[in-house]
């Protein structure tokens, strides 16, 4: 068996105590900003029985007149839905931020007619007493691409 010096032993105990302390502190007091020692908050909140569930999407008008969904995934638009969702206030204040989606999508779809306009939209599904209720489409903002 390999030996272990007193110093080695001591710093390991100190690191363990510090690590566990940081993690507990993160979960009990901090926000996501403290990653990797923030709270483990994925799916950790408690939506009410009458909450409204939103799915944020981006739609685009092509030069040939078709209006299509631009799927918010890294492979299709270079950015994912969660990243866009967390920036909704900034995007509605400055719709040109939708350029990230438009550029990301266009660079991955070269053979398709060019994008003329994009919309930030939401499918809003209302829960009624804990069951799925009606869904409606809401337009949050729109941005016309410079030609």
């Amino acid at each position: 068996m390999r030996g272990i010096s007193k110093t080695s032993y001591a710093w390991r105990i100190a690191a363990t105590v510090l690590g566990i302390g940081l993690l507990l502190n993160g979960s009990l007091r901090m926000s996501d900003d403290a990653w990797p020692v923030g709270p483990l908050s994925q799916y950790a909140f408690s939506p009410a029985k009458d909450t409204t569930i939103v799915i944020t999407r981006v739609e685009g008008l092509l030069a040939d007149g078709r209006r299509i969904d631009l799927p918010l995934r890294v492979e299709t638009a270079g950015i994912s839905r969660a990243e866009i969702e967390s920036r909704i206030p900034q995007i509605t204040a400055d719709p040109s931020l939708l350029r990230s989606v438009a550029d990301g999508w266009s660079s991955r779809h070269r053979g398709v007619p060019r994008l003329v306009r994009v919309w930030l939209v939401q499918d809003q599904t209302r829960l009624v007493d804990g069951r799925v209720g009606p869904t409606r489409l809401v337009e949050l903002t729109t941005w016309e691409l410079p030609s």
Partner: protein
């Protein structure tokens, strides 16, 4: 004093170093998969500096904002570092480089609004694995040490804390109430938002979803017990949690692969080498029987058994 010593040996049990050598290979190769399949967006995200919001860790270390050259450099460092570290060569240097680069890479991936929590155990693993240092004979090592035991214990604690702390966060977010999360519409919410999995078939049954929420919450809250399990009970717990991950993958299309792979820190991986050698030997023996002219299969078996 005796209590302090027993607490110390719980955190630093004596375990075979080959276990760490094998886990290094698996986890460093997994990081290569991870940067291609899971945290795969730092390079495309770095094209959008206007959306970057640095996390505390990036502000604390004053890390430069991500740019395309920076993220590509990190990618190349990770690829090279992982291949070197996976072969247990220069474990301290290569391991430390991978730990720092992967932490930064993942932090960049989480700096555009969405923070995931499936990487806690893997990030901890990458920081503690280099501390074991050089393991002579790597996978075949017969050495045992507390250094190896501490590294594995840290990974085990991080795996279990991924569950336990998420239960604490649920209690906190529900206004310090035990029942608010399990009684909420969270699974319904998640299934509506991710309609790709089998979960959509459960949408008409909110009572069943509540029952599932109670079960997973109870499992998470009591998960700490796993740290004291051994043998078959530990195996049963591991099978249960793997089943849990398969289940969430099936109904929500959410995987926790980086946490799941770290469950290997609980496994007696040191048995893998001798087992592989036995399988190889018995194959050799069978082949030997088929060809009568084969040179002394019995002797070769003895040498292999002796080496195991």
């Amino acid at each position: 004093m005796r209590m302090l010593r027993s607490v110390g040996s719980w955190f630093m049990p004596v375990v075979p170093e080959s276990r760490v050598a094998i886990l290094r290979t698996v986890l460093y190769l997994f990081v290569i998969i991870d940067i291609h399949l899971f945290v795969r967006d730092p390079i495309p995200l770095s094209r959008h500096p206007e959306l970057y919001q640095p996390l505390l860790i990036e502000r604390l270390f004053q890390l430069p904002p991500p740019s395309v050259p920076l993220t590509i450099t990190l990618y190349l460092i990770l690829m090279t570092g992982c291949l070197v570290a996976a072969s247990n060569v220069m474990p301290r240097l290569a391991g430390a480089v991978v730990a720092a680069a992967f932490t930064w890479w993942t932090a960049i991936g989480m700096s555009y609004g969405k923070v995931d929590h499936d990487h806690l155990a893997l990030v901890v693993a990458l920081w503690v694995l280099p501390t074991v240092g050089v393991i002579a004979e790597r996978w075949r090592s017969t050495e045992r040490s507390r250094q190896a035991g501490w590294a594995l214990k840290c990974i085990q604690i991080s795996v279990i804390f991924t569950y336990f702390l998420s239960a604490l966060t649920k209690i906190r977010s529900g206004g310090w109430s035990i029942a608010s999360w399990p009684e909420s519409s969270i699974l319904l919410w998640a299934i509506v938002r991710r309609p790709h999995g089998l979960g959509q078939f459960l949408l008409p049954y909110p009572e069943l979803l509540h029952l599932m929420q109670w079960m997973s919450f109870t499992a998470e809250l009591t998960s700490v017990v796993v740290l004291w399990l051994r043998g078959r009970a530990l195996l049963a717990a591991a099978v249960f949690w793997m089943g849990f991950h398969v289940f969430t993958l099936a109904i929500l299309y959410i995987h926790f692969a980086p946490t799941a792979i770290c469950w290997l820190a609980f496994a007696p991986l040191e048995r893998l080498g001798p087992w592989l050698r036995r399988v190889k030997a018995s194959r050799g023996q069978r082949a030997g029987r088929r060809s009568p002219g084969h040179a002394m299969p019995v002797l070769r078996d003895q040498a292999i058994d002796g080496g195991g």
